[in-house]
Amino acid sequence: MSHKKEHRSANEYLQYLKRELSNRERHAFEKGLEADPFEQEAMEGLEPLDSEQAEQDMLYLHNRLRRRLSRRRRVAFYSVAATMASLLIVGTVFLKIHDFNPGSDEKQVYPEESFDTSTPQEAQPVPPAQKETDISEPISPTPERTVPMPQAAPMKEGEPAKDAPKGRSKGDPEIKVVDLKDEEPDETEAYDFVMAEEPMAEEPITHMEAEPMARAGEYKAAPTTQKSGKRKKSLAQPVAQSPQEISNVVANDREVEQMLTGKVTGIVISAEDQEPIPGAIVENRALNSGVFTDWDGQFDIPVQEDTPTTLVASFIGMETQEYQVSDGAHVELIMLPDATTLDEVVVVGYLAQEEKKGMDYSVPEPAIGYKNYKQYVEQNIEFPQENEDLKRAIVVLKFKVTRTGEIKEVVALKSPGEAFTREAARLLMEGPSWNPASTDKGTKDESVRMRIVFKK
């Protein structure tokens, strides 16, 4: 039925709430509301807010919606990387199971390879499978690492300049190549392959170089480790060791000279708002060097030429992240907010305050102090009869202490049942008075959360 297309926009609402309209306009607006219960109810909801708050909230919501919409793009974009990562994890789990069960075929191989471990396993492709291995099995990371590397195999050279690094590491990247190339890698295949110790590495060498590089470019250096901090550490170490090994053990002159001629440029971006992050640290742990991003989030960092490198980006409040990049690439390092910094309310003793603001600010407190208040609660609390099997229950109340010290708007945020809520509220309402929050300008209304523990 004749729902007119026009509806009152957010701006009109705000103008109305801010009383910027003439009486005539107000009437027209109100008439519109009368004709439409949706809008009428919306106004009933918005009216109690003050207009500044309403404006803020609407802006906030629009930002949230925008973020929601842009997240989807990123999600699509990451999904490839995520799929690969999860497949690798599955693959590794398989590997691990076989590692433990059939006894150590691999371990037997280990000693005969061990002389070869001295061969640097340079900064270059940190094979994801290997990475997972480190994580899932912290007990003996070192031998583990060498296992999947069929290093005993003869080196093959693709291009003479980089033969040393390539030949050495070809065993492990091989796993990666298999996994990467197949969107649906057959884990058992990958596994068999390792078990067989047959480095079918021969021809893939050239692409194993090409693969990670292409990948870094194509997927904007999608982080290879999506979350765990532990993982990063276990990965970082082997990577960091390698350069010394390169110079000490194989000290191939050409290589040492070439080490610093490569360069990666890029930009560090926050996943949250897509804005560049100035002052983030980007490290090339393999070379023990690091740079800060500039005002526009841009950086350039030396890397070893022609070999994929792991860059580590970090910034306060963001999750430290690793990226595989290769020489000459321009990369976008996207950083995710660190979940651990977004902690909830801090619990102080058994009372939790929401926040403290500024120096001259005190939050509401019981007039007799927390300690005595706690005592009061302990002495007066009655465990409701209602529930027999509960031994312990927690009720969280939220209430407002007005500037005059009145307690208002009591709401239970958490409660196992009505009887508990009642009892908690009774304690609060009948209990000692509260001092209002105060600032340098006097007292003010402030909300408080209180946690009450019932024990039998």
Partner: protein
């Protein structure tokens, strides 16, 4: 001022909806939703009575739209959204009811509003005010009658009506509401042969 309107402003609701459903273009739905987000927020605020919860509800309702829209044939997006919003809020209240008791002054409102599809005769601008309506207005109680006359015929805003009649603005609104309900009952009675 707020910079809220998007780039697709010219496009009608129906077009945006169609594009979303046919192409799965989420930006289209986002644009459409942003036109009504303040209403969804307002209603959620009214029911949930908490800014954070209401904001979450606004985002959850958007997610729900993504799922639900393609599965329903939606004629009138706005009234559909209204129903969805209210249902979402009521579900929310129900689910928290056991653990989240409102103790003071916040009672759960469950009154069902008049159907969104049927506009009250007095709000239909195109219709001339019929004799029947006039007769019914005359039969209203004095406050309701006064409020309706001042608001609809003298075109005063709530505030002015409130000043004129020396009563609270809230009162004015509820007299209007009740007056309209009574009018409707009265009119329906007359139409019955």
């Amino acid at each position: 001022m707020l910079e809220i309107s998007g780039k697709h402003q010219e496009i009608s609701d129906e077009k945006l909806l169609e594009k979303f459903i046919k192409l799965g273009n989420l930006d289209m739905l986002g644009e459409l939703y942003s036109r009504y987000m303040h209403l969804v927020y307002g209603v959620s605020l009214k029911y949930l009575n908490d800014r954070d919860d209401a904001q979450d509800a606004v985002m959850n309702i958007f997610e729900k739209l993504i799922d639900d829209l393609p599965r329903h044939e939606v004629q009138n997006f706005k009234s559909w959204l209204y129903v969805l919003t209210k249902n979402h809020c009521l579900m929310e209240i129900r689910s928290r009811k056991s653990t989240y008791r409102r103790l003071e002054g916040l009672k759960i409102e469950q009154e069902i509003m008049e159907s969104a599809d049927e506009m009250h005769p007095i709000d239909r601008e195109d219709d001339p005010i019929g004799e029947a309506l006039k007769a019914c207005i005359e039969r209203l109680k004095s406050e309701q009658k006064q409020c309706i006359q001042l608001f609809y015929y003298k075109k005063l805003c709530y505030q002015e009506v409130a000043e004129e009649l020396k009563m609270d603005e809230k009162k004015v609104k509820s007299y209007l509401q009740n007056g309209k309900r009574n009018l409707k009952i009265c009119l329906e009675g007359k139409n019955v042969p």
